[in-house]
């Protein structure tokens, strides 16, 4: 019986491998909730009548996956689709490797269901070459209401000054005011929320997305670093090297009051059995209630040789954009659907707030890409800016020096 099963599985596997229209997808969703999400996509592709060839490369930030992808592309055998995001899509586009999927976009009316800012990222020279999967909001602050209550703080402050006062109170009450992990990307996450809070969305857009030198060296940027310097004083000294989820655990356990982190932190609270609004609070980072920094996962489509493979690619793109996939996937991952017209029934309060804020900021023009998560600038520039921010967070560098260094880093080509 067992042997028969194995034989059947093997023949299935062989049949699968021989299938003319396999869709091969490179992704780095290998952790629990994420793997579940990938499974969902696989199911939908199979329902559309195509084979699924999994090409999962572990490593949360996708660095290993990108190395694997480069090897495959260089050997002239790219996968059907790969998990690539932000300006990297443009980098691959300029290498001439990406496929035009306007066919699916026109049929699915993507232009009307996606916010324009998002659609622009998915296009190379005006044509769709990638499909968005989800939206993470980065400018969140998470808090433990018990700790705040003990310190005499009423909820998460909405202004930066109010936040600094509250942090001082929490510190005086004996708890760590801000849970943080001293890793370059976390430093940058904190930095971009502060920059958005101090300078506002137009400033953020000009300085950190368009990399306008005048804005980068403006007094507002000095003020951003001054504020960041103050916030640094409320972080405990053991922060260097700490993983973000350990910092979240400090908020969960009542060791710390606040944490600046994107909405993937919600997964940690949920896993600990905490209820939003009761056991933990979520709010936009101080001073950014009307603004929204987004981090979008997407699949870029690579050029295929056969017409059949091309059809499979379109089917994959269509599957990703269906409301049912967007709903199930994002419930598992803690993010929100990228397209409009998805049922909101099952999402929690924080996710609903994220959806409402995204709509509002999309209309108001304050929906901006996240610097810390590779959405705003090319990887070389991003890395150079990370170096400056990390140095500021870990030395006695003055704000003026940091501003000058950041402006120089932004010129990295």
């Amino acid at each position: 019986m067992k042997l028969k099963h194995i034989a059947m599985l093997m023949s299935l596997a062989i049949a699968g491998a021989a299938h003319a229209t396999d869709v091969e997808v490179l992704h780095y969703w290998t952790s629990g909730g994420e793997a579940k999400s990938a499974e969902q996509l696989k199911l939908m592709v199979k329902q559309a009548g195509y084979g699924w060839k999994d090409f999962a490369v572990a490593g949360g930030g996708g660095e290993n996956a990108m190395t694997a992808l480069k090897t495959r592309v260089m050997s002239g055998n790219p996968p059907t689709a790969a998990q690539i995001k932000g300006p990297s899509i443009q980098e691959w586009g300029s290498e001439g490797m990406l496929a035009n999927i306007d066919e699916a976009a026109v049929a699915g009316k993507w232009d009307s269901v996606l916010p324009k800012v998002v659609a622009d990222i998915m296009k190379y020279k005006g044509h769709y070459v990638a499909v968005p999967v989800n939206v993470h909001r980065v400018n969140w602050v998470w808090a433990n209401p018990e700790v705040l209550k003990k310190a005499g703080v009423n909820g998460i402050p909405t202004t930066m000054d109010g936040f600094l006062e509250a942090a001082e109170k929490v510190k005086k009450s004996g708890a760590i005011a801000i849970a943080h992990g001293g890793q370059p990307w976390q430093d940058a996450t904190l930095f971009e929320s502060v920059a958005l809070g101090v300078g506002g969305a137009p400033f953020y857009q000009k300085a950190l997305v368009s990399l306008d030198q005048k804005t980068l060296t403006s007094p507002t940027m000095v003020k951003v670093f001054d504020t960041l310097g103050k916030i640094k004083g409320y972080i405990d000294k053991d922060a260097p090297g700490r993983d973000w989820n350990l910092a979240t655990a400090m908020v969960i356990n009542g060791k710390a009051g606040f944490q600046f982190m994107g909405d993937w932190a919600k997964g940690e609270f949920a896993a600990a059995g905490k209820v939003p609004g009761k056991d933990y609070l979520c709010a936009a980072a101080p001073g950014t209630a009307k603004d929204y920094t987004f981090n979008i996962d997407s699949f870029a489509m690579f050029q295929q040789k056969s017409a059949d493979a091309k059809k499979g690619q379109i089917a994959l793109a269509n599957a990703i954009m269906t409301p049912s996939f967007q709903s199930v996937f994002n419930l598992n991952k803690g993010s929100i659907p990228v397209r409009s017209g998805v049922s909101k029934d099952k999402f929690d309060d924080c996710a609903l707030k994220s959806m409402a804020d995204m709509d509002a900021s999309s209309k108001a023009g304050t929906l901006v890409p996240s610097l810390a998560h590779g959405m705003a600038v090319p990887s070389a520039t991003q890395g150079a800016m990370f170096d400056v921010i990390a140095k500021f967070m870990n030395s006695s560098m003055s704000s003026a020096d940091a501003v000058a260094a950041l402006a120089k880093a932004a010129r990295t080509k």
Binding site: D238, P240, S379, G383, A390, M393, S395
Partner: protein, 317 residues
């Protein structure tokens, strides 16, 4: 037993006789070509995969390569960018600190331990194994273990505070100015046992008669070591320096596991710089330039060492 041996030898004798009888020259040809045939693939693949790729990297460092290799020639612009990069200078300075202290302390400690173990003590084998064990661990394990021990809220400092010594203070791991020294501590812990083993072997190789003669002449033990034993171990010093300096220059895993180059970039080293720029920041050209600088450093350290070694060998003959 003897009969069996004789029985065995007989046919062998016959067969070798028959080969000689067949053709002496065929055998000669075989003997001459087989080593070449066996070594050929190894030689070819090392030529291609070591030297070939060194040349490829050297060429890439002269191109504007970004995410993918691009073979357009661009001169020395990547080197200019490299020397203008503050992070590179931090990495180089850290390599200087780490390399000097790591090699210096490992040699001193290894030699000291070897001399102590050389005093014909009891349980020498067991002690030697204890000191050698760290070498059996990978640098990743060493780095992670020391990360836990040195973490102020987890390791040594917390233990001391729990024991009541509340003024105890040891925060090197999270202190940007001191983080690189924690890498030295872990590196020395890992390697000094191995250095000790090399020195111990060297000490055992020295003729006892010379030492006895010196003792008869009335030389004290420290003088014997200082004037006779240590100078006689010159080749061992060369080997130790050769091994330690290339471990230092290419060190990557230990730093990644221990400090991840942090806090910030305070303990970054050239190998980490090279990896990040080539593979995660899409600056393959700049990464290749830094790799060439690392190669140049290794050559600058090793070539004089090997030259001195070769010269001293000749002098000895």
């Amino acid at each position: 037993m003897q009969a069996a041996a004789r029985h065995c030898r007989a046919p062998l004798f016959h067969s070798s006789l028959s080969i000689t009888g067949m053709s002496m020259s065929l055998k000669n040809v075989f003997e001459k070509t087989i080593p070449k045939l066996v070594l050929g693939p190894t030689l070819l693949s090392s030529l291609l995969f070591v030297y070939g790729f060194i040349f490829l990297t050297a060429y890439l460092s002269l191109t504007p390569s970004r995410m993918m290799p691009n073979f357009e020639f661009a001169g020395l612009q990547q080197y200019a960018a490299l020397f203008d990069n503050e992070r590179w200078w931090t990495s180089l300075a850290n390599l200087g600190i780490f390399g000097t202290l790591f090699i210096g302390i490992s040699v001193a400690l290894g030699l000291f331990l070897a001399i102590l173990l050389d005093q014909k003590i009891r349980a020498e084998g067991a002690l030697r194994a204890v000191y050698l064990y760290p070498m059996a661990l990978s640098f990743i394990v060493t780095g992670t273990a020391w990360k836990w021990m040195l973490n102020p809220s987890l390791g040594l400092e917390k233990v001391m505070h729990d024991c009541g010594w509340s003024s105890f203070h040891f925060d090197w791991l999270v202190n940007p100015d001191m983080a690189i020294y924690t890498v030295v501590i872990a590196g020395v812990w890992q390697s000094s046992g191995f250095v000790m083993a090399l020195f111990l072997a060297g000490l055992r190789g020295i003729d006892d008669d010379i030492i006895k003669a010196a003792q008869v002449d009335g030389a004290s033990l420290p003088t014997i070591y200082r004037r006779i034993v240590i100078p006689a171990m010159r080749p061992v010093f060369f080997s130790v320096l050769l091994i330690l300096s290339h471990i230092a220059i290419k060190s990557f895993d230990l730093v990644i596991a221990l400090t991840a180059g942090g806090p910030g970039n305070a303990s970054s080293v050239p190998a980490i710089f090279m990896y990040q720029f080539s593979f995660t920041r899409g600056q393959l050209g700049l990464g290749s330039a830094s790799a060439m600088m690392m190669l140049a450093t290794i050559v600058a350290v090793l070539v004089p060492l090997m030259y001195l070694e070769a010269r001293s060998n000749k002098a000895m003959r």
